[in-house]
């Protein structure tokens, strides 16, 4: 059997070197690799011609620190991987929706974003071209029986959050099943990136999940640097690491506060809401924008720091860390908080592996899934952050992993600022290599951000695939809700805190 192509994170390979297997061989390879502990980082289609599609699978092997790339060609249908490899389920729904190719035997083949197929006339569900596609209008899984009822929530939610639709099947207060239907946020990011890189590309990247601007901008920049064959300076890599960990600090702190809000524990709720802002303001000290917009650029960064800024950042970091410690300790020391966190919304480690969960959600099940450790790129090749895990898989675990990471990110930033390498921060990026494939993974605050670029003969993007960690994890939330009280939904939801727009693109 042809072997898959092994590459490291941030590498560019010639498109022609990617082995094209038969569908049966690809299925076999992916199923065996997944069974041995690898996860599917990306699985997507790229059209060969009007009637056929090349499917690319990127497997992440955390043990060896390698990526395995393989491809196969399909026409309008192929035998689905999902029955034998459940973590392919969402990817195969996406492939069906984008290209009108049907994965036969998929147990739950429905649209995920509610847009028309990228290939005119090819629709996986045979819907007429003039039929309206209404988001959230689909055949939801339904439970029948006496006293069984259905609760529908969204798209517009009660708080200041993004839109999505949730359909609960309940018996009394108990949730038997939750189905999540998204797509309301679809803006056409991947279509907009075609033909790039151009002046708008980076702005799509920075806003595709706006609370993860830094992680996505780093992934995109590493792709362009790899395609252009340039290495960024040590100083730029260090500053990128600092920005990435500041993003994690802000969001994790905000999440601890929001978890406290959802159980009505107001002290931590109000402190963390404020401290989160202090971390965002520290990012603004670097570049003027609280979300790090325009900080990261292909080739390095656009904003440098001087000695005065370094001491100011250190000072603010120390104060914010002290205050978030005080606020978080209140959670762990208050029995009424712990009673609500523990054993709520559990996900087993087997389910976590089967679904291919990533990031905080996976580490809260005890899995050491962290790109900074498994497939380090940039500064993380030189400065390691220990992986934070907890093994109970419940709301408490997801909260506590965040807390462990807050401490470690703060320590990392302090170390980096203390030993900031000298040098310039930006190097010009040469033209992108033609007919190539490049992959970049970055551990954003929610989890693994995966970008894959395929360039055409002129070095332009023929395909730019983005996989936000939310894409892997929404199903994890649905499973966590089973047999839970419906009143615990906000708490469980916040413990995942997934991105709607990062999923919808």
């Amino acid at each position: 059997m042809t072997a898959a192509l092994s590459m490291h994170n941030g590498q560019t390979v010639a498109l022609a070197d990617v082995p094209v297997l038969s569908v049966a061989e690809l299925r076999d390879h992916v199923i065996r690799a997944a069974g041995a502990g690898a996860r599917l980082g990306a699985f997507f289609g790229n059209p060969l011609d009007a009637s056929s599609l090349r499917l690319f699978a990127i497997l992440v092997d955390g043990f060896s620190g390698n990526l395995l790339v393989l491809a196969t060609d399909v026409a309008d249908r192929y035998p689905a991987l999902t029955p034998d490899c459940p973590q392919a389920h969402w990817f195969e729904r996406e492939i069906a929706e984008q290209w009108g190719v049907r994965p036969l035997g998929h147990p739950w083949l429905k649209p995920i974003r509610f847009h028309r197929s990228y290939r005119a006339g090819e629709d996986a569900w045979g819907r007429p071209a003039d039929a309206a596609l209404l988001p959230g209008v689909t055949d939801f899984f339904q439970v029948a029986g006496e006293e069984v009822h259905e609760v529908a929530v969204g798209p517009v939610h009660a708080g200041i959050i993004e839109p999505g639709h949730f359909r609960f099947q309940c018996h009394g207060e108990e949730v038997l099943h939750l189905e999540i239907s998204l797509g309301f946020q679809h803006r056409g990011v991947e279509s907009g990136l075609l033909g790039g890189p151009d002046k708008r590309s980076l702005h799509f990247i920075e806003t595709l999940a706006g609370d993860t601007s830094v992680a996505h901008a780093i992934a995109y920049s590493e792709i362009l640097e790899s395609l252009g064959g340039v290495t960024v300076t040590a100083r730029a890599q260090s500053l990128r690491g600092i920005a990435l960990e500041l993003e994690r600090l802000a969001n994790h702190t905000g999440d601890l506060g929001a978890l406290a809000t959802d159980i009505g524990f107001l002290p931590t709720s109000s402190y963390c809401g404020r401290i989160r802002g202090d971390f965002l303001n520290t990012t603004a000290l670097l570049c003027g924008n609280r979300f790090g917009r325009s900080l990261i650029r292909p080739g390095g960064l656009w904003f440098d720091v001087d000695g005065a800024q370094v001491s100011q950042i250190l000072e603010r970091l120390e104060a914010a860390e002290r205050e978030v410690t005080n606020a978080a300790d209140l959670l762990w020391n208050t029995s009424s908080v712990m009673a609500r966190f523990e054993e709520t919304g559990p996900v087993s480690v087997d389910t976590c592996r089967d679904l291919g969960l990533v990031g905080v959600a996976a580490r809260a099940c005890g899995l050491e899934r962290d790109c900074r450790y498994e497939l380090p790129s940039g500064i993380f090749r030189f400065a390691q952050i220990p992986v934070s895990t907890w093994d109970t898989g419940d709301v408490f675990a997801r909260a506590y992993v965040r807390w462990l990471e807050i401490k470690r990110s703060a320590a990392f930033i302090r170390d980096q600022l203390g030993t900031l390498p000298a040098g310039h921060i930006h190097s010009p990026v040469p033209e992108t290599a033609p007919s190539s494939l490049s992959v970049s993974l970055v551990e954003g605050w929610r989890g693994e951000v995966c970008h894959v670029a395929i360039t055409d003969k002129g070095g332009r993007f023929a395909r730019y695939k983005v996989v936000d960690p939310s894409f892997h994890n929404w199903m994890g939330l649905a499973i966590a809700l089973r047999n839970q009280q419906i009143a615990d939904f906000p708490l469980c939801n916040k413990s995942f805190n997934l991105s709607y727009c990062g999923h919808d693109l």
């Binding site: 509610f114 200041i160 993004e162 839109p163 056409g188 279509s191 595709l208 999940a209 609370d211 609280r290």
Partner: protein, 264 residues
């Protein structure tokens, strides 16, 4: 309980003194750009070339900048070899009309004026808003949400975000309005009892932002509903949003239209 009380003392009082005094933003903050056309050689359009959203348009009377499209990303400032564009620290960016957001050397930003007497009488001291994220990226949403924290303490101005459009006096909209959110936005608007106001926050909600002219979006809120207040930015600083809300409600002492503040 004891620990909670001790913690309360340690965390202290954190609410900004704004609007009694104006807080300083960090030195690299990028606010209202100023244009100096006297530095532009004839036929130079490098800034417009670099602008990701085509917010800059060179014309006979110098460059015009549409703040409703501007991402405050400094791509233009960096592209301009003549120093004709400079970002300032001015974060008072809100305007009442779409046209008023288009600035040039000779045309200053038309900063937001207060609502008319009748609406001010109704809403000036108690404004309830329903937020609708219509394909927002969660940055504008986050900076609206933060107004509820102890730092900004929106409640002290009588402004509150409510869970139902039926309880609201208006909508605050973020995002470029995806096709998939058009119906939900329209229905939410219709569910708000009249008289009602609409506030568009961020480049996306004003013009589509980075997604302007993408086939999947409608280029902002005013494609679906009438807008009473625009707050530019990507995302706008929470202070810019708060400033816009207070201007709209006539809660700020009258600020004369002055030239932008110099950079700090």
């Amino acid at each position: 309980m004891w620990k909670v009380l001790v913690s309360r003392l340690k965390q202290g009082h954190r609410t900004l003194t704004y609007p009694r005094s104006e807080p300083a933003l960090p030195a690299p903050y990028r606010g209202l750009p100023v244009l100096d056309s006297s530095r532009c050689p004839n036929g130079c359009g490098e800034c417009a070339e670099a602008c990701p959203t085509d917010a800059l348009v060179p014309g006979d009377n110098g460059i015009a900048l549409d703040l409703g499209r501007c991402l405050f990303c400094v791509d233009c400032e960096r592209a301009c070899p003549h120093g004709a564009i400079r970002m300032t620290q001015d974060w008072h960016l809100a305007g009442r009309t779409r046209a008023g957001l288009i600035i040039s050397e000779s045309k200053m930003l038309a900063r937001a004026e207060a609502l008319g007497r009748e609406l001010r009488g109704l809403l000036g001291r108690s404004l309830k808003l329903r937020e609708v994220s219509a394909a927002g990226c969660n940055a504008c949403e986050a900076d609206v949400n933060v107004l509820g924290t102890v730092v900004f303490d929106l409640g002290r101005f009588g402004i509150q975000f409510v869970a139902s459009p039926r309880h609201a006096d208006g909508l605050l909209i973020t995002g470029p309005v995806s096709r998939n959110m058009e119906l939900a936005l329209r229905k939410t608007y219709e569910a708000v009892p009249a008289p009602k106001i609409v506030i568009a926050v961020g480049a996306c909600a004003i013009s589509g932002g980075p997604y302007v002219d993408s086939p999947q979006v409608l280029n902002g809120a005013d494609a679906v509903v009438p807008v009473d207040l625009y707050v530019p930015g990507c995302p706008p600083h929470p202070l810019s949003i708060l400033d816009g809300l207070l201007r709209l409600l006539g809660r700020l002492p009258d600020i004369p239209e002055t030239a932008p503040r110099p950079t700090a």
